[in-house]
């Protein structure tokens, strides 16, 4: 079983590695976008999945990463891409830490809306701060016509994200996050510094969003407030996590891939009803499969080991959380 899993993952990884040789460079741009979605979803997973805080404004850090990278690259120092990306990630981490300390004191809906408000505020600031960001027109980045570069950069960060998630999930930090998610007061009683743990999760999610923003900005060579601070990105990362399975190592990755497949399918078949189908998918997963596709995989794995699949897979959530 274990050998099978490792072989499967290696096969997938090898396919991803050689993919740029076989597809057109236009197609490759789409794949890079999916990988960036996976990076953002991995980031959101730390705060939303493991720690259980419904952050609805991570697009703020996506935008900060994009703008920082762009502005540094076109500045008079002509900083190259990777240092600019690192600077964006660092700035995002600092902003997230400064904002996180007060905001993470809020609970539930209040936290969700406060983060949403932060993202909106950043969008307006980017649009109004003409001297630096060129306002609504946006800034242009240097052109680089090598689409495999973006792809491999994104793939590298996805692999890094998986490794980091797997490492942290089994660390004191990861267990602390889960404890906070399950019962914050109890976690505090156990001596967990809840503020520090929550801020760490939030800052980490900001770093990942920022990295994805930098890559997309460099690939699109144009950064404008309404393209890079739009709430759709926040939604996509949350939906990807929910589809795959929140609070799991592979969930965000699986979810990003499945989301993109579904999205492409829906676009090509019912173009006008695309959001309707998307809304329907969200409703379906929230009601019937809140632990995502990873739950299905776990059950298949159990069957392979000789266990039972369980007939209640789609109804377990309803049984547990409906009000009779």
């Amino acid at each position: 079983m274990r050998a099978f899993r490792i072989a499967f993952l290696l096969a997938v990884f090898a396919t991803l590695l050689v993919l740029p040789r076989f597809v057109s460079s236009y197609k490759l741009l789409t794949y890079t976008t999916v990988l960036c979605l996976a990076i953002m979803a991995q980031g959101w997973n730390f705060i939303g999945g493991y720690t259980g805080y419904a952050a609805f404004g991570n697009v703020a850090y996506f935008g900060i990463g994009a703008y920082t990278t762009g502005l540094l690259m076109i500045s008079k120092w002509h900083i190259s891409f990777f240092p600019a990306l690192a600077a964006g990630a660092l700035l995002s981490a600092c902003v997230a830490t400064l904002l996180g300390v007060p905001i993470l004191r809020l609970k539930g809906h209040y936290f969700a809306i406060a983060t949403l408000g932060v993202a909106e505020a950043f969008r307006e600031i980017a649009g109004a701060w003409d001297r630096v960001t060129e306002g609504a027109t946006g800034i242009d980045l240097p052109l680089r016509s090598d689409s495999a570069f973006y792809y491999y950069t994104a793939l590298g960060f996805v692999v890094f994200g998986v490794a980091l998630t797997a490492l942290l999930a089994k660390s004191k930090l990861g267990y602390g996050w889960v404890a906070i998610r399950e019962d914050q007061d109890a976690a505090k009683m156990l001596g967990i510094n809840t503020t520090m743990f929550k801020v760490a999760a939030y800052a980490l999610s900001a770093v990942f969003a920022s990295i994805a923003g930098s890559i997309i900005a460099y690939q699109n060579i144009h950064v404008a407030p309404n393209d890079f601070f739009k709430i759709e990105y926040t939604l996509q990362m949350i939906i990807a996590c929910v589809i795959g399975g929140t609070g799991s190592v592979w969930g965000p990755l699986l979810g990003a891939a499945v989301y993109q497949l579904l999205s492409t399918f829906v676009w090509s078949h019912f173009i006008e009803l695309h959001p309707t189908v998307l809304g329907g998918i969200i409703v379906f997963f929230v009601v019937f499969l809140p632990r995502g596709l990873m739950e299905l995989l776990r059950r298949f794995a159990a069957v392979l080991k000789g266990g039972r699949f369980g007939s209640d897979v789609f109804l377990a959530n309803i049984r547990a959380s409906r009000l009779d």
């Binding site: 939303g48 259980g52 419904a54 007060p102 905001i103 004191r105 809020l106 609970k107 539930g108 809906h109 209040y110 969700a112 809306i113 406060a114 408000g117 932060v118 909106e120 505020a121 969008r123 307006e124 600031i125 649009g127 109004a128 939604l235 949350i238 929910v242 006008e272 009803l273 695309h274 959001p275 309707t276 998307l278 809304g279 329907g280 998918i281 969200i282 409703v283 929230v286 009601v287 809140p290 959530n317 309803i318 547990a320 959380s321 409906r322 009000l323 009779d324």
Partner: protein, 289 residues
């Protein structure tokens, strides 16, 4: 700023606060009683607007007369949604209802876009655009009428919640659902009723808004945000809190909108975040969490 300008700003704020209070009323009720931030609220508002528009276009129904109709339709719709969907996950972690109502919002708004297209519509009557002036301050009839209907509905809801048996059952369920059930309250039915009333009030707000502002299917999202801000400012608990929240918010929106329009969202949300941090229970309210 001259005195006349200030007076006009004040009057505009008062007229706006009535509709905003109605916008936030149903949202506040559902949040306070069921602990659900109903992101579908904006879609209900838009549905109310289209119902009024449709009745006016097809049968020339006066928009004020169509308010009860859209309330009835949206009550049934909200009741059904709570019964069939939301009730299934109501005890799941908070993200579930948040995402569920959000998914419904996307779905409904897109379906409205599909059937009505994104064209901007407005309901025009013979008395649209006319009004009276006091000194240099202009008061449009429609906005005054909308304010009247809003106040009426706020008072009716307040009376219903405090005086009637059913209203007291709703408040009791909101205070302590287990205790309410021990006294024989059927909680799922009460929840469905509450959600239905919330949707009906959104429908009324939509009907009134259709006369006041041009609208398209995407109008609702902004009003869900406003409803949230108003609830945070006023706090949850009773209808007076909503009125206070709406009044404060209307003053800020009208004032900031006339001074720094480009940053109105950032100012509003900045205020919101500061308020959340300093006083999460709102200016006038008790803690809800």
């Amino acid at each position: 700023m001259s005195g006349a300008e200030l007076a006009q700003i004040a009057v505009n704020a008062v007229l706006l606060s009535g509709i905003l209070a109605l916008v936030a009323l149903g949202f506040s009720l559902v949040w306070g009683i069921m602990n659900i931030v109903n992101l579908t609220h904006g879609a209900f508002i838009v549905m109310g607007a289209y119902l009024t528009y449709g009745m006016h276009e097809l049968w020339h129904v006066d928009p004020f007369l169509s308010v009860p109709v859209s309330m009835a339709v949206l009550f049934c719709f909200g009741f059904a949604i709570q019964r069939v969907l939301i009730n299934q996950v109501i005890r799941a972690p908070l993200l579930a209802t948040f995402l569920l109502t959000f998914g419904l919002e996307i779905l409904i708004v897109n379906l409205l876009n599909f059937f009505f297209k994104a064209d901007t519509r407005s309901v025009m009557t013979l008395y649209s655009g006319s009004g009276f002036t006091v000194g240099s301050v202009r008061v449009p009839y429609i906005r005054l009428g909308a304010l009247g209907v809003s106040i009426l509905l706020v008072l009716m809801l307040g009376a219903f919640l405090t005086k009637s048996r059913l209203g007291r059952a709703i408040r009791g369920t909101g205070m302590d659902i287990d205790a309410a059930r021990l006294t024989g309250v059927k909680a799922p039915a009460i929840y469905a009723l509450t959600f239905g009333i919330g949707a009906a009030l959104a429908g009324a707000a939509g009907s009134l808004l259709s006369m006041v502002v041009p609208f398209d299917p995407n109008l609702g999202g902004g009003y869900t945000e406003r409803a949230f801000v108003i609830c945070v400012i006023g706090g949850l608990g009773n209808v007076v809190n909503v009125l206070i929240g709406a009044a404060v918010y209307a003053v800020v929106e009208v004032f900031v909108g006339s001074r720094v329009p480009a940053l109105s969202g950032a100012v509003t949300f900045g205020m919101l975040v500061l308020l959340l941090i300093a006083r999460p229970q709102g200016i006038a309210g008790k803690s809800a969490s």
